[in-house]
Amino acid sequence: MPKKGDIDDRFKRFGTVSFTAISKTNDFVAHLEEGRVCGTACRKCGAVFFPPRADCCHCVSSDMKWFEITGTGKLVSFSKLTFAPLGFEADVPYCIALLDYGSYKIFGRIADAVDPADLAVGMPMKTVSNTLPNGQRNYVFEIG
């Protein structure tokens, strides 16, 4: 049980370096740690969001529920970085990418096990939860 005065800062565990500690979407990290990648949907108007949002900008409601990302999306584009920003040097080289699931898109990283030479715009990929070498959590794209 959280004690009075405890700060829920689970978002600091997202990504190689997190720049956010506290968010109303902190449960995203709990879902990741249980192996699920989730977006949010508005209970009032049905709009779906990735990245997840705590608030719906369409109907200005804050009554949201989580849904799990399943199936595959199409690879919109990708790039392999050979030079990294401060804090990410140990990860080089790595690929960032965008997947299109139709009603939403997901920005993230390609799994390290995927050879960038095998990537092609338009190919199907799936989104999976991932543990980084430094113990942080993120999600990555694997060939679907």
Partner: protein, 394 residues
């Protein structure tokens, strides 16, 4: 007449510091360089300026609220001073604000001063800062940086239209053609296609696939200054006013997941439509353009987003050499950000300055033949903010 719907607004003076790798002074001294350059070309004095707008992106230096110290250093107290920021498009956001202040009749003569001293931090720190101009909650934790985001656009453009690395190299070669003759450019050396073909050459070294070192602009320290005035003041203070005919400003989602396509920038397209409509002109009326070529792919997309080429046909426009000084639509004949350098907060003002000098026929070796209408395209973030300005000689 003060303000009013029918009055016109002009740019009556422009100035710029040389863009350099490491400016040997503080930010206020850097801002002064552009201000002095600006005042030296007009009978106007600092007492004629009744407001200042300072433009930069935060966290490259330690000064909070830089409008205060810069207004003081330029001798612009007690006049009103404002600070505006929209990343790399801060300078043209400042121009839009100056236009609005003068149009509304609140001020008559406004100085727009953009600056950035990027050399105070390392290149990897700078990439981290720039990466945080994107979505810090959902994108930055993956290790993002500006070259990688634009590289994703290049990859998408190549997949959709068959654009090649050679097409991108042609843009860099053109930029360097004019960087060599721009005395204020940071990169004054020639660049050839042979350099990109040689895997050992630094220009060909990969930064973020498919972009190479030669596809990326250089960080620089620099400042730029524009003086914006009412029609009455413009006629009294300036022999060659350049008129603001059209302005457009739009935004797109920060996170790439909110974009419909990565083959162009929707904020640029929408800003261009607004500016063309306000000016009552179209792409074929533009005689000279300055576009935000932070990367080679950015110039290619700009040519398509502005309507100089159909989507996917940008590569043909580049190959035809129609974007050279003697071509149908000269683009970035001052070296562009690629060779001139890209000191974030100064870039918008520098783009505007180039087009103002062209319209006044004062661009020296870079001068295109008798331009009447010019266009400025300035982007903040990865297509997050888009500003377009159309300027005219009459």
């Amino acid at each position: 007449m003060r303000g009013g719907r029918m009055s016109r607004i002009a740019i009556i003076a422009v100035g710029q510091s040389p863009f350099v790798r490491q400016y040997p002074g503080s930010i206020r001294e850097l801002a002064f360089e552009a201000f002095r350059d600006c005042l030296h070309e007009t009978p106007l004095t600092r007492k004629d300026i009744d407001a200042s707008i300072v433009c930069s992106a935060p966290e490259y230096d330690r000064q909070r609220s830089p409008a205060g110290v810069i207004a003081e250093y330029l001798g612009l107290n007690p006049q009103a001073a404002f600070y505006v920021e929209s990343l790399c498009s801060s300078g043209t956001t400042g121009l839009r604000l100056a236009y609005a202040l003068v149009k509304a009749g609140l001020h008559d003569v406004v100085a727009v001063i953009g600056f950035q001293k990027m050399s105070e931090i390392s290149s990897s720190e700078s990439q981290e800062r720039m990466g945080r101009g994107a979505d810090i909650q959902w994108e930055s934790p993956f290790g993002t940086m500006m070259p990688a985001y634009y590289a994703m656009h290049a990859q998408a453009h190549m997949a959709a239209y068959g654009t090649t690395l050679d097409d991108l190299a042609r843009i860099r070669v053109k930029a360097a053609t004019y960087g060599q003759i721009n005395p204020k450019a940071v990169y004054r050396k020639p660049v050839t296609s042979d350099m990109f073909a040689d895997p050992e050459h630094i220009m060909a070294r990969t930064v973020s696939t498919p972009l190479r070192v030669g596809d990326c602009c250089a960080n620089a320290d620099g400042s730029a200054c524009l003086i914006v005035a009412s029609e009455e003041k413009a006629r009294a203070l300036c022999g060659k006013p350049v008129w603001i005919l059209g302005l457009g400003s739009a935004t797109a989602s920060v996170n790439l997941s909110g974009r419909d396509s990565l083959t162009g920038l929707s904020a640029a397209r929408q800003a261009a439509q607004q500016a063309y409509a306000m000016a009552g002109v179209g792409p074929s009326d533009i005689d000279v353009a300055g576009v935000h070529d932070c990367f080679t792919i950015a110039e290619l997309m700009a040519c398509e987003d502005l309507g100089f080429a159909e989507p996917g046909k940008g590569r043909e426009l580049i190959a035809s050499r129609d974007t050279y000084r003697e071509g149908r639509i000269p683009v970035n004949v001052d070296g562009g950000l690629l060779s001139k350098g890209h000191p974030i907060g100064a870039t918008g003002g520098s783009l505007v300055r180039t087009i103002v000098l062209q319209l006044r026929q004062e661009a020296g070796e870079m001068q295109v033949d008798s331009p009447e209408i010019g266009l400025v395209h300035n982007i903040g973030g990865v297509g997050l903010y888009g500003n377009v300005a159309i300027l005219g000689r009459s």
